[in-house]
């Protein structure tokens, strides 16, 4: 199985997620540079957290327009699984692979802390190792994680079971609509989420709740 992590200038969770992918697959992922116009065929493409291009205009907007993203979109259309974490989620919405947009946190501050998440759909390619409605703890770290979409988009997300994770009651760190923490496309193979599963994939770092996401997708793709 071939996994790749896209490295944008300003990505800063690329190494963290590579460590988790290597633990799950047994081999280090391919680290793909943003400026490359081509990308070997991949089974899983990860857009890591960070501040791509400084996130200076809108988070993820410049990365979404980078050469490598044309490749990522093309491979996604051919069926590759895509995981966008934090900044990666922002990039996925900016490039249209996922609907909606991530706006500034309603608290107006960057927030880094553990959050309680509910696995709202434990059926997709990423989440199948969790129990439906299981509560897990995964940290967030972002300034723009407030998921927003219009009413009809939100209704459609619900209808097609595209909401993968929601923040636990009273634990929404950013004001996201419907407490949305992560969504997928209709196929369930493209997942974008604000919380960082790679930061909770090892007991020494506080817990292993994030680990099943990586082992889960690797199993699905095997």
């Amino acid at each position: 199985m071939q996994a790749a992590v896209i490295v944008f200038p300003g990505s800063n969770c690329d190494r963290d997620v590579a460590v988790c992918l290597e633990a799950a697959t047994g081999t280090p992922p391919l680290m793909a540079w943003h400026g490359d116009a081509s990308l070997p065929d991949c089974d899983l493409i990860v857009l890591p957290g960070g501040f791509s291009y400084g996130d200076y205009l809108r988070c993820g907007s410049m990365a979404a327009n980078s050469p490598i993203m044309r490749e990522v979109v093309a491979q996604a259309h051919k069926g590759a699984a895509v995981l966008g974490i934090c900044n990666g989620f922002q990039i996925l919405t900016e490039c249209g692979l996922l609907p909606g947009v991530l706006m500034q946190n309603t608290g107006l501050n960057f927030v880094c802390r553990d959050t309680r998440l509910t696995v709202s759909n434990a059926q997709n390619a990423f989440t199948h190792l969790y129990q439906q409605d299981e509560e897990i703890i995964i940290p967030v770290a972002h300034n723009e994680g407030n998921y927003f979409a219009d009413e009809s988009t939100l209704a459609s997300l619900q209808e097609h079971q595209q909401i993968a994770f929601t923040y636990g009651a009273g634990d929404n760190p950013n004001g996201a609509s419907l407490d949305i923490a992560g969504i997928t496309d209709k196929s369930g193979k493209i997942l974008g989420m604000m919380p960082h599963p790679e930061r909770r994939a090892e007991a020494a770092l506080g817990g292993e709740d994030g680990k099943r996401l990586f082992t889960g997708i690797v199993e699905s793709l095997a």
């Binding site: 205009l57 809108r58 907007s61 410049m62 327009n65 900016e94 909606g100 947009v101 706006m103 500034q104 946190n105 309603t106 608290g107 107006l108 407030n146 927003f148 979409a149 219009d150 004001g175």
Partner: protein, 82 residues
């Protein structure tokens, strides 16, 4: 040719920054502030001298990069004085 692009949130989209400014103005005892919205201002200096061409190019920039049309409107003003 210089252009100014105003990027504002669509009405109906919540604007926490605007709201925060509104509250802060209240705390500073400015009264009679009915609402505040915050947007972005982008000033671009283009080599293009033809207004129509400049406008077309700026529109493309807004659509592709500068604005997220899911939540934002944009308004292009060309400074034709030069």
């Amino acid at each position: 040719m210089k252009a100014t692009i105003n990027i504002t949130l669509k009405s109906g989209v919540l604007d926490p920054q605007g709201k925060a400014i509104e509250n802060a103005l209240g705390q500073l005892n400015f009264s009679g502030v009915n609402s505040v919205r915050q947007g972005k201002l982008i000033e671009i200096d283009l080599s293009e001298t033809d207004a129509a061409k400049a406008e077309a190019s700026l529109t493309a920039m807004c659509e592709q990069l500068l604005a997220n049309t899911v939540i934002e409107n944009y308004d292009i003003q060309l400074d034709k004085s030069e």
